[in-house]
């Protein structure tokens, strides 16, 4: 009995082999790219001498950064959320105007922003009035927090507006017709649906504020937060003195936004 080969199955085998090779190649390229992207973290393992742990100024810098950034985030959320709601519900013309204003706050280079804040809140402008009521806007925790709010609120609001845009208006209409007022609609429908977007927006603002150097170094050299402390430590004492602070810096800046983005991506993948 003659053996008849099935040409279709041969072609299929060849096709699936090519597919597998393409997939392997793609994975290898992606792995190489990921390694290259994460390669700077290898710097943590480069021998630079014995790390100097437990420096009092290191702990101070961590405390200053975490406490004052947390306060700045409270201000950002308290002001930014209602403003984002107002912009998201504004007419297209108003919305364009507001978003243009927000973009300016996001795009001003940090160093320039620091100088501008110093001048605008300085003794020849608003600073004279603030001084009279006992508020000092140079090298104080207030200056630190105000600067962080300025550098981060635009990021938070743009993210919050995008999160609000993702909630269909028909759902808000239904909630309203079912008896929920504006606040109840926000609390029971809009926010629960948009909360991951809000978390991502807050995490971006957190990173932006916590890692801010250019603006803060001008307005609030003291009290020194982590970025300024790392810079001055590097200048004065070298790498062994700043490496522990660098590790803490990474640990406080990375996890929240990382987790928020991973969760957001997971939700997108599920939808």
């Amino acid at each position: 009995m003659p053996i008849v080969k099935n040409p279709g199955s041969v072609q299929e085998k060849a096709g699936s082999g090519a597919k597998r090779r393409t997939m392997l190649l793609r994975r290898a390229a992606a792995a190489f790219f990921a390694l290259a992207l994460l390669y700077p973290l290898a710097g943590l393992f480069v021998p630079v001498g014995a790390w100097r742990w437990g420096d009092a100024s290191t702990l101070d810098a961590v405390r200053v950064s975490l406490v004052l950034t947390a306060i700045a985030m409270v201000v950002v959320v308290a002001i930014g959320t209602p403003m984002a709601l107002a912009i998201a519900r504004a007419t297209p013309r108003e919305r364009l105007m507001w978003q243009a204003v927000l973009l300016v706050s996001v795009l001003v280079p940090p160093l320039a922003l620091g100088i501008l804040i110093s001048l605008a809140f300085g003794p020849h402008a608003l600073g004279a009035f603030l001084d009279r009521v006992g508020l000092k806007m140079t090298n104080t925790p207030l200056a630190f927090v105000v600067t962080q709010v300025y550098v981060s609120i635009g990021y938070y609001m743009l993210g919050a507006i995008a999160a609000l845009d993702a909630v269909p208006e028909a759902l808000r209409v239904q909630a309203g017709l079912l008896g929920a007022g504006r606040w109840a609609t926000f609390a029971r429908v809009t926010f629960p649906i948009a909360r991951l977007g809000f978390t991502v927006a807050l995490s971006l603002a957190w990173v932006r504020a916590l890692t801010e150097f250019g603006a803060v170094v001008v307005t609030a050299y003291y009290p020194a937060g982590m970025p300024v402390a790392i810079w001055t430590g590097l200048e004065n004492f070298g790498l062994p003195a700043v490496m522990p602070l660098l590790v803490v810096f990474l640990l406080t800046a990375l996890p929240l936004p990382w987790l928020a983005h991973v969760l957001a991506q997971r939700r997108i993948a599920r939808a």
Partner: protein, 232 residues
């Protein structure tokens, strides 16, 4: 009683329709696609704001000025179920009830659940249910607070015939029981006739005929209406 005069500019024409429906009565809006029927319903619901006219429900002014959605006391169901995706089926159904009533299922909610066959779905995520099931959940959610006015905008589109029959029977029964005023839009004259003995035929944003179905079928006001009413 619903007493409405809707004026709303559209790109091709301006809608100008007066509509008066006695309390507990039904009225259908019939016409070709794009005639303005859904816009009329959206204006009454508050999903869209009219450019002129007046809307009153049981003596309360809904427009002008535009009353807030939560003060309108009406149910509005469209082709899209628009369920709240973060809530389970039961939470969606009870959304419009006062807080204490959301915790314990009342006999009325039990009736809705039984008639609409939602028992097995009660704790399911709304993301996991079918389109037909979602439409039943949306109907239950709309009726749960017992609104005095119900607006239905082609809510049966795309549903199986047997499900449409069951829903029509249920809505008719509940209207008799609860006494709500009903305004329905549908492109299917048979469905509309089952829910509303009186119909307004709409063409290019104007009422071209207002009467009973047999009157429309006997003497349609325009050739287009005649074609729309003709059997397939």
């Amino acid at each position: 009683m619903l007493d409405a005069h809707i004026v709303k500019a559209r790109s091709a024409f301006t809608i100008d329709v007066a509509l008066r429906v006695e309390r507990g009565a039904s009225c259908g809006l019939f016409g070709a696609s794009g005639a303005g029927k859904s816009t009329i319903l959206a204006c009454i619901a508050g999903a869209e704001t009219p450019d002129g006219g007046t809307i009153e429900l049981d003596g309360r002014r809904l427009y002008p000025p535009s009353a807030p959605l939560h003060e309108r006391a009406l149910g509005y169901l469209t082709q899209d179920a628009n369920l709240f995706p973060h809530l389970r089926v039961g939470e969606n159904v009870c959304f419009g009830l006062p807080a204490p009533e959301r915790r314990v299922r009342s006999p009325w909610i039990d009736e809705l659940v039984e008639r609409l066959d939602l028992g097995a779905l009660w704790n399911a995520s709304v993301r996991a249910i079918s389109g037909g099931q979602a439409r039943r959940v949306a109907l239950a959610r709309m009726l749960a607070p017992k609104p005095p006015l119900v607006l239905l905008d082609e809510p049966f589109t795309g549903l199986d015939r047997h499900l449409v029959r069951a829903l029509l029977a249920a809505i008719g029964g509940w209207q008799r029981e609860l006494g709500f005023t009903l305004v329905v839009v549908d492109h299917d004259a048979d469905i509309l006739a089952r829910l509303a003995p009186r119909v307004l035929a709409i063409e290019n944003g104007r009422t071209i005929q207002d009467g009973r179905w047999d009157e429309l079928r006997m003497r349609p006001a325009t050739p287009l209406l005649e074609r729309l009413l003709a059997p397939l």
